[in-house]
Amino acid sequence: MSSKGKATKASSEGMQLLQGTLDMIVLRTLAAMGSQHAYQIATRLEQVSDKLLNLNQGTLYPALVRLEQYGWIAGEWGRTENNREAKFYAITKPGLKALNEETARWRQMTGLVDRLLTEKFSA
């Protein structure tokens, strides 16, 4: 998963997600909360981000397909508490491994960017 992408810009409309980070966030959510359906994941994302993330809920679906194709998550049809049929996604073992790797890389990356941005120039 590449980390290159358009620069994000904080604005009154909230923040845009860095490309590739959505997958990580979804994995993290599933790792923390266990099996979830798409609506639950979307709601969870909104809660955590305090609506700062301007996320079209539909964009979640391509990410879910992608992760399923990688074999990092597995989907299974089930019933919600109100007895609606929904597809529940759970993180797989390779998914957990990938999450750890991606998290480590992310930390490394943000650390580096942080350092570069806070560096004092002795001009």
Binding site: N56, Q57, G58, Y61, V65, Q69, R84, A98
Partner: protein, 895 residues
């Protein structure tokens, strides 16, 4: 790993059934999502209707999500490409006529192009299959020829070769190759003769060419030390496969040719069939097995030279040239008939070493200008096809501008539109290339066979190798790109508002299309014009009066093991005359219009005319009658004339040496024999060895001459001419062969031809030009007709409404026909005029290849014009018929 897995998943996603199942699943998922959102919003106090709206808004457009979902799970590029191909196929099928016309034109033109490339590749590009061909040279002689005219030739005598080889032995390797000729031989008894192409080679050849045997051994210097010493034969790989199906037991087999018993010692490597282009040798034999190895005057060897490393070409050349000058000066002393003006500085020529390239051949030299002509014709034909396709495609894209506009309005990306059109034209290109390849596969050998008479086929390997395939692919891509880009660019420049309002004026396209038609017709005219010139040239040349009969006559070259007495030859002639179906038979020492000649200067009344030579033929009584040559004065030679002192002469001889006065009873002395000869009769002029309008002076003397003691010399070889009652005299060849062998067991027929075949062999070049001309004329005419039809067809479709209205208003059939065809026919006329002007300009480039034909001849202009008009009318006919069948009621209602 996971990326791989994803790709596999994606590929799985390509299957349609699975796709629709996954689509349905996604629908369910999205439905749940919307429902849950709705519920939540209602819980928070929203109105149900508003909740639904909000829910959908939050999710984003369902259609977009669906699209993103599909793209994430599938391979969008391939999927849409497949869709484009399917769509393109439907589009092409919808317009069958234009599609067919486009594929046909492109296919024909590409096929012609590929066929020409095959030939050009075979003649020019493919290097000789020898090691290091770039350091192989052929000896060429440049200077004045026997007639005192400048020329180049590459023939040397075998003794000359031996001298050169020995003189240059420290500097270079030299080898001599004889002519490849079709010979009769047998692997069994003389009852089962068959023919094969045999090439005598010196022992150095295989080594110098760096060739390794595919089987057994090759001919080496040790096979070529003394005359008749080593009857070894090496088969070409192709012949081995063809004749012996690759049997490895072939080594050790024997065959008989004439009186020689050859043993097959090996097989040459694959691909090597000699160095003469247009001739493929089946069997290689040592030069020393041939009778001419000691003859300094028999010049039929081609010398190949490979300088040793560190030796410059110039050094080798000067050594070889010095030998050449010395030997030729020596030879000149023996040449009594050598014209005096040439003698002092004989040989008046110098040896030059030329790079070999793809081979050496008289045929190649002969066909070189015609291959240039071929290229011109090819370019013209390709241009005609391109004009066709450009017309058809722009017609299509114009017709589709509305469809494109709708697509753009519905949100189709312009790049997607371009891709769609490109896919379509690629499909056209692929179809056309496939057709073209088939066509080329048929056409290339076809042109080759048309080039040459059946008896003397030019044989060239025409492999469809990777160079040819590469050429085909490149050609296809180029054509597809050129003609795909054009409508694609147009498609991407659609302005929906304008196009949907009714589009640009169709007249704008029509003008361009009509212009292209005119250009196309002009090109077609040029091709037809050139073809006509060649065809007329061939007809004029083959139509030259030969002065002797060619039909019904069989020519049989016959040899005996040892020279036999004349009585046995006479008995043979009697037996042949007695064979049912034979009208007459006689013999001579060579064939009229054959490949050999003999000439001498002649002294009359003490004056020797050295600037002109008389050509000689020795014959038996009855020969002139058998050949259909009229006896104009005096008498035929008789059996009692069998010495050197009586001769028949032709009219040209009388004119040249006797000032046209009756020569019967007068004397002349040939410089060669120095024996005075009495003219006993005068015969009509007959062509001796080559087609020309003026017949050379000829002397016919009895064969054989008596020797000094007055008795007749025994004779080893003779050419029988047999006049049969058959239209195809070759039908009697086997019967006569048996008759001859039964009459005298020591006689062998080494070559059988009809006199017609002998004569045809002299028109190879003209035939080549005429055949290629005809071929391209046919292709060009077909293309032009297809193009005309396509454009007319399109313009009728475009104007269906107008024509419907006209018919409704009472237009007559004539009116409609005029409406539909007037402008196009005007363009045909314009093209014809332009074409004749261009043709007149071009004709000077090919005058050298024409015989007795003037380019400016109005009759030469009329023929293509009439043919083109005919083709145009033929192409217009179905279109006019269609236009007239338009039902105004149906037409106007459909709008």
């Amino acid at each position: 790993m996971s990326a791989m897995r994803r790709l596999v998943q994606k590929l799985k996603g390509l299957s349609e059934a699975k796709n629709s199942r996954v689509d349905a699943e996604m629908e369910r998922e999205l439905a749940t999502h919307v429902a849950l959102l709705e519920e939540e919003l209602i819980r928070k106090g929203a109105e149900p209707a508003e909740a639904r709206r909000q829910a959908r808004l939050r999710l984003g457009g369902v259609e977009q999500v669906r699209m993103m979902h599909r793209e994430a799970r599938g391979l969008p590029l391939i999927e849409s490409l497949i869709a484009d191909v399917r769509f393109g196929w439907r589009q092409l099928m919808k317009r069958k006529v234009t599609t067919l016309a486009a594929v046909l034109s492109l296919g024909l033109a590409m096929g012609a192009c590929m066929a020409a490339f095959l030939l050009i590749d075979a003649f020019y590009l493919r290097p000789l299959p020898v090691s290091d061909p770039s350091h192989l040279y052929v000896a060429q002689f440049e200077g004045l020829n026997w007639a005192g005219a400048p020329g180049t030739w590459n023939a040397a005598s075998y003794p000359m070769f031996e001298k050169m080889r020995d003189a240059a032995k420290d500097l270079a390797n030299v080898t001599a190759l004889g002519y490849t000729s079709k010979n009769e031989l047998t692997y069994g008894g003389y009852q089962q003769m068959e023919q094969a192409y045999q090439q005598p080679v010196s022992g150095e050849m295989f080594g110098l060419f760096g060739l390794k045997p595919a089987l057994g051994r090759l001919i080496g210097p040790e096979d070529n030390l003394a005359p008749k010493q080593s009857p070894a034969a090496v088969l070409s790989y192709e012949y081995w496969q063809r004749r012996f199906e690759g049997d490895t037991q072939v080594v050790g087999k024997h065959f008989r040719k004439g009186d020689d018993d050859f043993e097959i010692v090996g097989v040459a490597p694959k691909g090597f069939t000699g160095t003469e282009l247009g001739l493929m040798a089946d069997i290689f034999t040592p030069s020393m097995m041939e009778p001419w190895v000691a003859d300094k005057n028999d010049r039929d060897q081609t010398l190949f030279v490979r300088p040793k490393s560190g030796v410059t070409l110039a050094t080798v050349q000067s050594v070889l040239d010095a030998t050449y000058q010395r030997e030729e000066q020596e030879r000149a002393k023996m040449l009594d008939s050598l014209p005096e003006n040439l003698r002092a500085t004989f040989p008046n020529a110098h040896l030059r070493l030329q790079t070999v390239g793809s081979g050496v051949s008289g045929l190649k030299e002969g066909s070189a200008p015609s291959l240039e002509t071929l290229s011109i014709l090819i370019v013209l034909v390709l241009m005609i096809a391109c004009a066709n396709v450009a017309n058809l495609m722009s017609a299509q894209s114009a017709a589709r501008s509305r469809e494109m506009a709708v697509r753009v309005s519905l949100g189709s990306g312009r790049s997607r539109l371009v891709r769609m059109v490109l896919v379509e034209s690629t499909m056209l290109g692929v179809a056309a290339a496939a057709l073209g390849l088939l066509f080329a596969w048929w056409a290339a050998p076809f042109i080759l066979t048309k080039m040459t008479p059946a008896d003397f086929p030019v044989r060239v390997a025409l492999p469809m190798d990777w160079i040819v395939a590469g050429f085909a692919v490149a050609l296809m891509m180029a054509v597809t790109l050129i003609f795909g880009m054009f409508p694609a660019a147009r498609a991407s420049h659609v302005y929906p508002a304008q196009a949907l309002k009714g589009g640009e004026a169709p007249q704008a396209h029509q003008r361009a299309m009509h212009g292209l038609i005119a250009v196309q017709i002009a090109f077609c005219f040029i091709v037809l014009f050139i073809a006509g010139l060649f065809a007329t040239s061939l007809a004029r040349k083959t139509g030259l009066p030969l002065g002797f009969a060619t039909e019904h006559v069989l020519v049989m070259e016959t040899t005996a093991k040892q020279p036999i007495q004349m009585g046995r030859w006479d008995a043979l002639l009697e037996a042949v005359r007695g064979t049912p179906g034979v009208q007459n038979a006689a013999m001579a020492d060579r064939t009229l219009m054959g490949w050999s000649s003999q000439s001498t200067a002649v002294t009359v009344d003490g004056v020797t005319r050295k600037e002109v030579n008389a050509f000689l033929l020795k014959l038996s009584p009855g020969w002139i009658e058998t050949m259909g040559i009229p006896l104009l004065a005096g008498r035929d030679i008789r059996d009692s004339d069998r010495d050197d002192t009586a001769a028949l002469v032709n009219q040209a001889f009388v004119k040249t040496y006797f000032g046209g006065k009756d020569p019967v009873g007068r004397m002349f002395t040939p410089l060669d024999s120095k024996t005075p000869v009495t003219v006993v009769g005068v015969v009509g002029d007959a062509m001796y060895g080559w087609p020309s309008r003026t017949v050379v002076p000829q002397v016919y003397q009895p064969m054989p001459a008596a020797n000094d003691s007055g008795s007749l010399k025994p004779l080893q070889m003779a050419t029988l001419v047999v006049k049969t009652q058959m239209n195809d005299p070759m039908a009697m060849a086997e019967t006569l062969r048996k008759t001859i062998m039964q009459t005298d067991a020591s006689l062998r027929v080494v070559k059988v031809q009809s006199q017609r075949q002998v004569v045809d062999g002299k028109f190879v070049q003209e035939r080549l030009h005429a055949a290629t001309g005809e071929f391209f004329a046919a292709v060009a005419l077909l293309l032009a007709a297809v193009g005309l039809y396509g454009v007319l067809h399109y313009s009728v479709i475009l104007r269906e409404r107008e024509i419907g209205v006209r018919i409704a208003l009472g237009a007559t059939a004539g009116n409609i026909a005029r409406t539909v065809t007037a402008r196009v026919l005007a363009m045909v006329l314009l093209g014809t005029v332009a074409g004749s002007a261009a043709g007149l300009g071009l004709v000077r480039f090919i005058t050298s290849m024409l015989y007795q034909v003037k380019g400016a001849d109005p009759s030469m202009m009329m023929m293509p014009a009439i043919v083109l008009m005919g083709a145009a009318l033929l192409a217009a006919l179905p279109v006019v018929a269609r236009a007239m069948r338009i039902n105004p009621v149906v037409m106007l209602r459909s709008e």
